[in-house]
Symmetry: C2
Subunit: 206 residues, 2 copies
């Protein structure tokens, strides 16, 4: 597309670099910003720039943080002996939104994926081992997506943890609440029968 | 949603102010930016901020411009005696992309819409009259969307121009190329019969 202004063309070009944003959407966003007050656009631009520049990663769990240690690790009300192992910050947000988990986290920063050139050495696995070796962790809950790469990663981490004095568990897999049996895939259904649990444990109110 | 970092929450909040971007999409964009190099994010943020701060509006046609007068008005190869009247910058871009129009533009900056509180005085109508009064304009092509508000606007502008020595035309309305007759709305179809044109003029190759 031709733009009568290089400033517009530049801004559109930058927006199209974002995932899921094509040129038409980018132009719509840019023209929207163009209609806003200058100071409002400045606030937008500053928020983005400051976010990237000032963000820190918690030195304990690798979560995003405004200080050296994130709010979750810093929270004395959280159970620091239970660590939930997740792939990304997004998973932390998803679990936090349930409001049910009171332990802390460890963010791997990805999963093992040889195709994408991600080997175990690129993930925050050693720092997890170090945390466990310090001795205050009783349980690690694997909360990695049940895909081939995810399962490989969980398996690799569990091997690395073997021999250390820590209990390893996994989030339950089965049929979603509200999910219809007939639409569940065969593996999920088969595993949910094999790993059936006492009826009273299966209730939401439990 | 809860964010472990205020910086992230702020950036997500700013993105959700953009049209068509909800919280989940905003978070995806923010986490994407977080993974980029700091200088790349700075380029993004600067492009947006500079676009809004340094943008100028052409004092002739009100198009966006990098200088006082836009590239189109400044182009000696364009026919300055033919002015295409459009609603917005977006329409200019759409017409420019056809590569067929060699005249110049006049951007109204909206259409008359009493419901939204937009009266004729808020649009760039007087500056169009002034351009015509200077005497170098032979034809004004109305290229306003054929909606009720659009037609009202075209009608109002044509009234204001009556008495001035300028030809007023309108973009053709009818069945789109590649459009199926049976799916065309009745009004378009009826008008396209009433305003039928010589066969050889209807060919793409004309």
């Amino acid at each position: 597309m031709k733009y009568s202004s290089k400033l517009i063309a530049d801004a559109v070009g930058e927006f199209t670099k974002l995932p899921g944003i094509g040129e038409k959407t980018a132009l719509r966003l840019v023209l929207h910003l163009l209609k806003q007050d200058e100071d409002k656009v400045e606030v937008f631009s500053k928020a983005v720039s400051r976010m990237r520049k000032d963000i820190k990663f918690c030195r304990v769990c690798h979560n995003v943080a405004d200080q050296e240690v994130c709010e979750i690790c810093n929270n004395a009300h959280r159970d620091a002996s239970t660590v939930c192992l997740v792939e990304s910050i997004r998973d932390v947000m998803a679990i936090e939104n349930t409001g049910i988990y009171k332990g802390v986290y460890h963010i791997l920063g990805g999963i093992i994926s040889p195709i994408d050139g991600v080997g175990p050495e690129k993930l925050n696995i050693q720092s997890l081992i170090d945390r466990v070796k310090q001795g205050d962790i009783h349980e690690i809950i694997m909360a990695i997506s049940p895909t081939i790469e995810g399962d490989t990663t969980s398996f690799y981490v569990s091997k690395r943890l073997s021999g250390l004095d820590v209990k390893i568990s996994s989030i339950a897999r089965g049929i979603s609440f509200g999910g219809e049996l007939e639409y569940a895939d065969e593996m999920t259904l088969a595993r949910s029968i094999a790993t059936r649990l006492p009826y009273e444990n299966s209730l939401i109110q439990h």
